[in-house]
Symmetry: C2
């Protein structure tokens, strides 16, 4: 299973691709950061994130995309940007028919460190160990993206059975639009 993890953000959007299955050693396929300038217009920043995510999807052809679930308990301005960047990542994946999974920060931390309240250094250390890297990926957003991908691979067996059942029940998603033109 090949998974692209995305730690969404407008300024730094962490991306990491991991391949493997639960119970076997995992392999890092790629890791990086999509950056957009803080002084650019919001629309342009979203286009830049779209181009960045598209490039990663083109190059690595993941079967799943795992995105951090956004909560608004943090700084208001940051959360808005995070929600908008995550929307672009989900849109890029869903447009290609790639299943999108959302994992909360504590789910990710618990998956890779055993504790939902682990700090960034601990997550970085475990990502380094689990992927047999020479050093923790920098910046932290890149390490978090890899942790998201690892979390998805390990949680996938149960989640996929559930998703398939729900998808079979639902069928395709229709788009309803009504309007009038003067």
């Amino acid at each position: 299973m090949r998974v692209l993890g995305v730690d969404p953000g407008l300024t730094r959007c962490g991306v990491g691709v991991v391949e493997g299955v639960a119970g076997r050693p995992l392999t890092m396929v790629g890791v990086g950061v999509v950056r957009t300038p803080a002084d650019a217009e919001l629309g342009h920043r979203l286009v830049a994130i779209e181009q960045g995510i598209e490039a990663w999807l083109d190059e690595h052809r993941p079967e799943y995309v795992a995105v951090e679930r956004v909560f608004s308990q943090h700084n208001v301005r940051t959360v808005m940007g995070t929600a908008q960047a995550s929307a672009v990542a989900m849109l890029c994946a869903a447009r290609r028919g790639i299943p999108v999974a959302l994992h909360t920060p504590s789910e990710v931390k618990a998956a890779v460190t055993g504790s939902g309240r682990a700090d960034k250094a601990q997550v970085g250390a475990m990502v380094t160990r689990l992927l047999r890297l020479d050093a923790p990926p920098k910046p932290a957003d890149a390490a978090d993206a890899l942790a998201l991908a690892i979390c998805h691979i390990w949680r996938a067996p149960a989640q996929n059975r559930l998703q398939q059942a729900v998808a079979a029940h639902r069928g395709k998603t229709p788009i309803a639009s009504k309007g009038r033109t003067a």
Copy 2:
């Protein structure tokens, strides 16, 4: 000047196209709602909103897109969805090189009713009067989208001068992406 106003939302995304210039009677070109089913997966809902906005851009070729600026002072779940839907609308416009303007709800209310604290009925009544319609557009999201477009047309003379100065200063927005591949 032709403006597409977007009142962003995952369940109902109001869209309205208004043509005109400040100081002259305005014309409604089209109004509607892009809907997505609440039980669909988030990624699919964002794709449906993208398709809906793209269809409105294709049909009406607006010169500007005005989107409601999202604040997180309201319900947390709703705000996340609103931020994500607005990101898709901004992305669609920016990808085509159409300038995107953000207006706050109180700016819109003040523009069309004279009061930043006007209620939905008052906004609907003024939109109906200003666009010389037979009845207020339904649902309220559609009326709000028209109000956004009107607000943009009336505020545009000052805003455009500012935007042009900023754009001239900035030049084009670069995308920076760094990564390594194992």
